[in-house]
């Protein structure tokens, strides 16, 4: 075993008496990681780290319940539980065969020998013991409520006592959600690039993050309408822990930068530098809309029990509003075209496959595909070339780009839109035809003459208007 005499302090007593074992978290032919609790309700983890012929050496450290949940849900590693522990000193205890703690050493986290630290990849890859599942669900809901934004929506008049109009409620819910979704989208693209995720398609990852960042309402109360809003950052395990942490942090940022923001000059300046006018309009307009003086409802930010009002959403002053959300026309976000392959059961109708929606068995997103195309007419705007026979060509789809490489006419087209790629191809052929038929035959190169003959060979009627 490692000699601790130079790096740790001997403790004359075991500092955690009267422990009760909750469960072994990792067990392999013996306990590897065990969870204990003391009389005061402190949670402790015992991690087996070494042994000799007489002793097993355990690293013993306190852990808060939230971190423990995050560890069990693979959001943080065991290494982080140890190295980022709130306590500066951890306990190393050498326990003999009779389970008596014979030697105790207090060691500073930084001095822990590397061999005793779990590796970077020490995420919980084991079954969560049954004893935790119910209490973890409660803890999970509790943590959702704790981290949430709590809003109280009330009528300004007493016309319906405290009852809130459904229309008003829908507007508030819709606008909070819209602001949050925009905030997540904008910040994700600010904080990450495709280089941050090797082996992951950035656009697919972006869509997944947006999908998983649904705004949830873990707590509701009626009378006036009170709702907590939050987003999950525990249950979606398919994304990397880095993203999970980012989502958690981003929700807190949304709380601070948008819902609970004080738009004083300093904070405003930071926001102006951070977000451009389009981003600011996307994020802040929905919130300014529900904070307007003319609304017949008012919104307060409360504590998680909805009892204590922390702040009322009030309209911000006009000069600040004009700076925060200048009058700009928002551009429609550019939609990215993806290619899908659909596998389904259907029939042939007029030689064409027909599959009803319910008979689609699988829809796969493709990174690469070769798409055969054929036509009897090459047309672009008012110009048309009617062909003697069916004209075949191939469109290759490669990670978002449609490529038409037609070597007989040395035409190469690349476009992110399928129809645009085809149109560009047709235009190129028509331009080639116009150029070759208008040119003086004597001026044409041998290659051009070859192109011209090939074109005349396949065209039956040209209909060129300009």
């Amino acid at each position: 075993m490692e000699n601790l005499s130079q790096i740790a302090f001997v403790s004359t007593h075991f500092p955690y008496p009267d422990l009760s074992k909750i469960s072994d978290l990792i067990y392999y032919e013996g306990p590897i990681l065990s969870h204990f609790i003391n009389k005061e309700g402190k949670d402790l983890l015992y991690l087996w780290i070494d042994s000799d012929s007489k002793h097993n050496r355990w690293l013993i450290f306190e852990v808060d319940r939230n971190s423990l949940i995050n560890y069990l849900y693979k959001n943080i590693s065991l290494r982080d539980l140890v190295s980022k522990n709130r306590k500066d000193f951890l306990l190393i205890s050498d326990i003999n065969e009779n389970l008596i703690s014979e030697f105790n050493n207090l060691i500073q986290k930084e001095n822990l020998p590397e061999i005793y630290l779990p590796k970077e990849d020490s995420y919980f890859e084991f079954s969560i013991p049954a004893i935790y599942t119910n209490s973890l669900e409660e803890e999970y809901l509790h943590s959702l409520v704790n981290d949430s934004i709590s809003l109280k929506i009330e009528n300004k008049s007493n016309k319906y006592l405290s009852a809130v109009k459904v229309d008003n409620l829908l507007i508030v819910l819709k606008n909070v959600k819209q602001s949050f979704t925009n905030f997540i989208s904008i910040n994700f693209k600010k904080d990450f690039t495709s280089e941050d995720f090797v082996n992951l398609n950035f656009d697919t990852l972006f869509s997944t993050v947006i999908k998983d960042s649904e705004l949830l309402m873990p707590n509701l109360e009626y009378g006036s309408f009170c709702a907590s809003f939050t987003t999950d950052y525990l249950m979606s395990k398919e994304i990397s822990p880095k993203i999970q942490q980012w989502r958690k942090d981003t929700f807190t940022r949304f709380k601070n930068e948008v819902i609970e923001a004080n738009f004083d000059i300093n904070s405003l300046q930071i926001l102006l530098e951070k977000y451009d006018e389009y981003d600011r309009k996307a994020i802040y307009s929905p919130i300014l809309e529900i904070s307007k003086d003319s609304n017949d409802y008012k919104i307060s930010i409360t504590d998680s029990s909805f009892k204590k009002v922390k702040k009322t959403l009030t309209p911000i002053s006009k000069p600040i509003q004009e700076k925060l959300v200048p009058k700009v026309q928002l551009l429609e976000p550019e939609k990215q075209e993806l290619l899908f392959q659909i596998i389904g059961i259907g029939e042939k109708v007029n030689e064409q496959p027909k599959i009803s929606k319910k008979n689609i068995l699988e829809t796969k997103e493709l990174n690469y595909a070769e798409i055969s195309q054929s036509t009897n007419t090459i047309s672009y705007h008012d110009n048309e070339l009617y062909l003697k026979e069916q004209f075949d060509f191939k469109v290759v789809y490669d990670r978002g780009t449609y490529i038409i490489d037609y070597s007989p006419f040395e035409i190469h087209i690349e476009n992110s839109n399928f129809e645009s790629a085809k149109n560009s191809f047709y235009k190129s052929i028509i331009d080639l035809y116009i150029h070759l038929t208008n040119a003086d035959e004597n001026q044409l190169s041998l290659k051009d003459i070859g192109f011209k003959n090939e074109l005349l060979n396949i065209i039956s009627i040209p209909n060129i208007k300009n």
């Binding site: 013996g30 590897i32 780290i49 042994s51 890859e125």
Partner: protein, 142 residues
Amino acid sequence: MDFKYKNIMLDVGIAEICPPTEAIPKELQAYRFIYEKIDDDRNFKPVYIKKPQRFNDKSDVDKCSGFGISLYKSEEHAIKKYTILANVVQNIGKTIGTHLAKGQILNDFGVVTPIDDEGHFDLHESDTCNLHNNFTVIKKIA
């Protein structure tokens, strides 16, 4: 079939439920974590025999599992499990072995439990089984 640790299981009070009824004789290839020398005394001893005190707070089902020899159905399954454990404890080799051994389990070796999702199963040895003679070290994994 008589089992190697029948008398101890009787003393512990689990002979009636151990080996479990779903365990059956089977012929299959198996992989096990062991120490470098194949004849190391620790290599093919069930954990209950090596460290009975570890089972003081365990259920009868867990105690029964402690009489089985842990095995994996493939090298990939074994390495995956070892890597996960070594990520948690870098010294894991000190307690479960540092090498991977491969062997053939035969019908008269005892009974094997159903293979789980991690490719793991237990062999409850018959009194004639001698795994030392049937396993060979294939690689160092620690």
